[in-house]
Structure formats: C-alpha cells, structure tokens
Subunit: 463 residues, 2 copies
C-alpha cells in the first residue's frame, strides 16, 4: 500500500475531527485503576485488559486477553503475510497513586483542565504512562481502518499489565508464544518528547535490577528504654548498608559494578553536548541545583548513559504522627540499580547481595526479594525504519527529532530484542513535566492529538 | 495512724476477696483506646481521664479532670495537713498498637488468658504500661478506704495523658499548680520487677531527647528512570546521616556527647556484676546474642547506665507491596537519645542538630521537630521512705528488692524532682516479658494481684 499525499491529509483531518471521541475512549481506560504492583488491584488490571481487547476486536484485530502467571496480556493480530509486520508494545498498568493527598483531583477520574495560557491537559494516573501513549497509537490505527478499511503494515499488539512491577510475566509469555510475533520491527510508545515542540526517538534504555531488602534483628519489637544500645537496631543496620553503597564521589561502591560498563563514544558525548539540554535548568525545574551522581559526568550523561543506585523506599519502626521509642524487629529498603550496556543484571544483583551480606553485623538476617533484573538495550542510530520515522516526525512537528538514550528501563524492550530479535522504534509523546509516577500525572492535549497524527504519518511512511 | 498486724492481714484478705471486681475495673480502663501520640485519639484520651477522675471521686478524693494544652491531667487530693503526704504519679495514655496484625486479640478488648502451666495473664495495650500498674495503686487505696474509711498517708494523684508522647503538658501544669502538690515524696508506678519473683526499686532513670528529622530534596517525587543519579535522593541522605551517628565501637559520634556523662562508681558496678543478671540470657530472650552498644561495657551497663542513640523510625519513598522506582522528595527519621546524669538534654539536642546540618549535602533542607528533652534523674539508695518500702516489698515477696537504674525515661519524674523538689519512690510490677510498647502487651494476674498487696503494705509502712 502506497499512500498518496491527499490520502494522508484526509487521515489527519479525520483524526482532528474525531478528537473528542478519541478523548472519551482514553478517559474510559484511565478510569480503571489498574495498579499492578499491589496485588489487591489484580481485578482492575484484568478489567483494563478486557477493555483493550474488546476495543481491538471492534477494530478488526484478532484480539484476546491471554492469561499469564501474573496480570494478563492483551494480544491483537492483523498481520500482512507478504508485507512489513511490526509488534506494537505498550502497557495498561499504572503506578500506585500515593501520596493521595497531593493530587488535585481523583487520580482515576480524569479531568480535562486548562492553564492560564489556554493550553489543555488531562490529569489522571496513567494519562501519560502509558495509557495515553498507547491510545495515541490505537487511535491512529482507528483512523486508517475507518477511512481505508486497512492498515499500511501488518500489526501484532502486545500490551502487558506488569510494566510498573518488573514485567515478570512478559518474557515467559513472549518466549512461549514467539512464533506468533515474528515481525520486522517493534514499535514502542512508552517514552517522551525531547521538549514540548521537539519529538524524540530513544535509541537506548538503561536496564534495571530491583531488590527488596529486609533486615531482621530481634525476634520482636523492643522498647528502646529497656533495650536501647544493647539490642541491634535494624534501622541503624539498613542505614549503614545504604550509606556504604555510594562513594563520596557519587559513584556506586558495589565491587565490580563498573567492570562491564561500555563508555559512550566521544563523538556521541560531543553530539549531546551540542544539544539544547541545560542540566542546570533540568535540575532547577524540580528545585535542585547540584548533580548528585558521579563527579566529572554531565547531568545528561548521569541520567542517560551512566549506571546508578537509588534507594526507592526505606522503612522501619514507627513512622506515624508523634513519636514511639521502639526498636523494631525489622527494617526494609527497596533498592534499584539502573544499568547501561554491557552490564549483566545477574552479576550486578549477585555483587549487591554479597555487598550487603558482607556488611551484616551480628544478630542480623537478610531476606532479598527480586523485583526484576533486565539488561540495558541499545539500537542502531540509523536504518530504513528509523530513517522513515525521523522524516514522519519532522513532517508533523516541523523539527528534526532528537535521537538519545533514555534513563529509564523498559524490561519488555530487552525481551523483544533477546527473544524476538527485533530492534524497537521507541517513540512517545509525553513531556518532561508530565509528573509520570508522581501525584498529578498529566498529558497535554496537544501531546495526545499530535501523537495520534505522528503515528498516522509513521505508519503511512513504513507502509 | 499506726496499723496493727491483724489490720494489715484484714486489708490483704480484702484485696484477695475482691480481686474479681478489681479486674472488672481494670478491664474497663483498658477498653478505652487512649493512644496519646496520634491526635486522632484525643477524645479517647479524655474519656480515660474522665473515667479515672470519676473513680477517684467515688473513692472520696477531691478529683477533677484538668485541662492542659494537650491531653488533660487527672488530679485527686485527699491530704493529711499534719501527716506524711505523697504525690502519686502515673499515666493513662498508651502506645500505638501497630503492627495490628501481630496481636493475638484486639488490643483494646482485654483478654484473661491462661498458659499451659496455669498462670493467668491479661493481654491488652496498656495492660502493664501503665493502666495496670496505676490500678494496682488505686485498688490498694480502695482497700483502705473500704475497710478503714481512711488512708495511712495524705495523697495527691497526678495522672497524665502524654507520657507516651513526651509529657509536653506535664511540666507546665505542675509548674503552674505547684502549691497544690507540696508533699514529702512521690510514688511512681511505671517501672518493673527485677524478675518474676523479685521486686525492684528504680533509683535512676535515663533522660530522653527525641527528634523528628525530615530531609527534603527535590520539590516533588521523581521517577528514578528520568532523574536517577543526578537528583539528590533524601533516602540516601538520611541513611548517610544515620550511619554517621555511631562509631564503629558502638559509641555515639555526636560531638561532645560524652562530655558530661557521670561514670557509675566502681563499687556500684561491682554490685551490679554480682546481681543475678545474665546479659547473654537477656539478649537471647529476644533472639539476640551480641551487645550492640559501646565496646567494653556490659549489657547491664549499656541498658541502665550508659547513654545511647536509637533510630526509632525511618521512612521515605515507597514501602508498600511490590516496587516503585521513585526518588521521593522527602525522607524522615525519628531519632532518640537516652541520657544519663549529668548530660544536658538541650546541649545534646543542639549538638545533634549541628551534626545533621554539618552533613547536609547540597539541595537538602532539614526540618527538626522536638518530641521531648528530659534529663536523667537519680535518687539516693537509702533514706526513711525507701527503707520502709524495701521492707514492705520483702514482706510481700519474701525476697529483698533489687535497687537499680532504669534504662527508660519518665520525663515526669524529672519534673517532679525539679519543680516540686520530691524524690520519687519508683516501684512497679511489670515483668521483662510483658511486651510493653509491642504487640501482645500483657500483665500477669499475679503481678496485678501482688502489686495491689505490695502497695497496701507500702502505704501501711509509710503511714
């Protein structure tokens, strides 16, 4: 299928004219509280999967909700045996919403709000990550199917429900069903714009090793008046261990952590340095002034090209109002490592666990719970698909997209590369101020609208 | 009033015969969830105060619930202008009950349970600390008033509702009303037995400085994929600060912390070393083997005679089920210091705050909230009142009471000494395994019963 220019204009006009209905469908999906990390929301996760599969079915895909050991997978096929075929990846699960008190409105009752300058945005958990971005692609497909009855390329949807909780079921499912997903490339929409008017294609992602660490000392909580100083305090132990994870220069102190780190070629660092990225401004937007990572690395390198260790959660003893002079029996930390190529996640995890065990004082036991171990991924900076997508994005936004590494991790992209052998075209339309994973997550209406139009152009270009 | 031996026997027989009714009254008080550290329970605290004042009134005390800036004070007078007068101190507030899941029964529905060996105990929050112990004294008074219509000594009750949350209102109330509480000594029942068959008189208490420390970095929660390593993580900052509070030898690293510490005289340490106290066994009873405090000090010294620093609570980021790759905006720790004579609590607090501020990395602010600053107290090992109490306890238990320092803190005892000039006779009947401040707090029925009998004997001896 080759698309004449007036056909493309007709498709884009159709997108514009039907934006209101697109919004309604997006809102319906946002209303389902599909929080994956808390098992209490498993039924809501399934409801989101059911909703998506039903919609893909209505659009003419051979769609189904497929069970896994965790939340189900949404699969939908509409393949072109003799043409180009792509696997589209996204996720329907969302992050928890706490602290709920900081939300300006119910996180699961989307609100279309307007800033003083007239710009509109939608506030809801998942507005950007990833329901909003998934819907930009689905609505682009809808435009083609409504107007032309067909798609420019063959497609297989693969929408998971555990991206926010380590994608545990994704690799087993894809491995067991690999034959269904033979294709030429993957399309992934879980990334962001370079800035509000410049699109981006992400060419690498950091890997992630996430560990829950629980330290147990005494067999029960103790009163610090009766036991204070003689009894080992797990809050102190976990703090000592966390303090030992970073060197004074901001680097990670786990043995061998940097052994396999691939240095970014100087010419790429050079390119990045020329980008319109101001590290000072980036930090200032969240109230910070001083990069906390490795000394001698720019903010851009620290967030995109260097590995790190972060303490995502720490808890032990009494945290409520007032005070309680307790020595708790247990303390807990959630610790994650962002990895770059070519770090081996399993090697990092083992080294981390050894680091902790080596520092355990007497009377402490440690329990580790794994919450994912994925390697970093990197795709080539050029090739037929990425070149076409660059042009399509340029046509829509009037500016050349930026190609760069992403600081986050999408474990599924590693699986898609490893199991299906597909390079991913990672394109998404969220903005840096979308408060993804935070209270008051939002997506600008323009991001949503031009996101749909961008996918129409990319699909047309690939076809 | 001089009490003939047969009169004392009649009183003790009255206590024995009416134990069931004493239990009913104790249970009624235990059913009131008077948690003082959480302001949500302020009405329940007042209900406990009302209940106690009503009961004292029925017994013939000039009793009232008296307002403070916090939870009210229960006051009840029945003085002897020409005789010996004592101020009785206790508290009606209790600790929080979390983690609720570890309780074998509702913490505010007291249960009279029985061990395999037939020993009975009462399980409830406050069973020991301090409602149970307050009631041993009240029921002893009741026996005198029921049988003789009078008390052997003059008494003023002073029962506060903020002992578990730093006794903020106690000192202002006592200072403003000092004239009402002129007396010869104080009686305090918020301590424990030496072991299940040996009573104890506590001759010193550690002081307490309690601080809530909140570290703020970024202006909002961040996604560790987008900001990880470049953005300052308050979980890391608070862990680094906590790690800096202790030296490798177990001592506290705050500058000047040990400057004013009074060493225990060698002959007292000698006496302690001869006591039937096995540090190994003490730790083993809660699953520990190795003293965590200052090297070169025995467990007994560490818990009774040496100052310490404990991390009572630590929290930041995501602590729920699963995982969330967040870099939080804030992290929090509740940190307390147990002090010994002659440490100045205000000097310690200032040195601690300086210690924290000196270690703050860029982009961090710290907020301190004070939860009490009380000095240690110490009373003489002998004198007319303490000698009479020793004999009375020996008569009841058949064994000489142990005189020793207490590791805990009762800020009110410091106030009673400083403002009213009274030395306190600190006698209580809880056991080391009563799980005070922990789930499944209990008091043995024997402790309660013989506790009442002990107070009858002590009041008789003092009269």
């Amino acid at each position: 299928m080759s698309l004449p220019p007036q056909e493309l204009e007709r498709l884009l006009a159709h997108v514009d004219a039907n934006l209101g209905e697109s919004l309604d469908r997006w809102f319906a999906l946002l209303r389902i509280p599909s929080i994956s990390t808390d098992p209490a929301y498993a039924p809501q996760c399934r409801a989101a999967a059911d909703w998506l599969a039903a919609m893909l079915g209505e659009l003419g895909f051979d769609a189904a909700v497929r069970d896994t050991d965790g939340n189900p997978m949404v699969v939908g096929h509409r393949r072109k045996p003799d043409g180009l075929n792509a696997v589209f990846y996204g996720h329907y699960d969302v992050q928890p919403v706490d602290p709920l008190g900081l939300w300006a409105s119910d996180p699961f009752e989307p609100v279309l709000a307007e800033r003083e300058n007239g710009e509109k945005f939608v506030r809801a958990r998942g507005a950007a990550d990833d329901k909003g971005l998934v819907m930009t692609f689905v609505e682009a497909c809808r435009a083609f199917l409504n107007l032309t009855g067909d798609l420019p390329i063959g497609l297989s949807f693969l929408i998971e429900g555990e991206e926010e909780s380590a994608s545990r079921s994704f690799a087993p499912f894809v491995t067991a069903n690999a034959a269904e997903f033979e294709a030429d490339l993957a399309l992934v929409c879980d990334t962001g714009m370079w800035d509000k008017s410049t699109p981006a294609i992400v060419t690498s992602l950091r890997g992630l090793v996430a560990e829950d660490v629980e330290i147990t000392c005494a067999s029960r909580d103790l009163h610090s008046g009766g036991y204070g100083s003689a009894a080992r305090n797990p809050n102190q132990v976990i703090a000592d261990i966390i303090a030992s994870l970073r060197n004074p220069d901001g680097s990670v102190a786990v043995e061998g952590f940097y052994d396999d780190v691939r240095e970014v070629p100087p010419e790429i660092v050079e390119m990045w340095n020329k980008l319109d990225f101001d590290g000072t401004e980036f930090l200032a937007s969240v109230g910070l002034t001083t990069p906390a990572g490795e000394k001698g690395r720019t903010v851009f390198e620290q967030i995109n090209a260097r590995p790190t260790c972060e303490i995502n959660g720490i808890s032990g003893g009494y945290a409520g109002p007032g005070f309680k002079t307790v020595i708790p029996s247990k303390a807990n930390a959630k610790i994650s490592f962002r990895l770059v190529a070519d770090q081996d996640p399993h090697k990092v995890r083992d080294a981390f666990r050894k680091h902790v065990r080596d520092r355990l004082p007497p009377d402490c036991t440690v329990k580790f719970e794994e919450h994912g171990a994925a390697a970093a991924v990197a795709v080539p900076y050029s090739g037929p698909h990425i070149d076409k997508a660059r042009q399509a994005l340029m046509d829509e936004w009037g500016t050349e997209p930026v190609l760069h590494g992403g600081g986050g991790s999408i474990p599924a992209v590693e699986t898609i590369k490893k199991v299906l052998g597909l390079d991913a075209l990672m394109i998404g339309f969220s903005r840096k101020d979308d408060a993804v994973h935070s209270p008051n997550e939002k997506l600008d209406l323009e991001s949503f609208h031009k996101g749909i139009r961008s996918w129409v152009r990319i699909l047309a270009a690939l076809g």
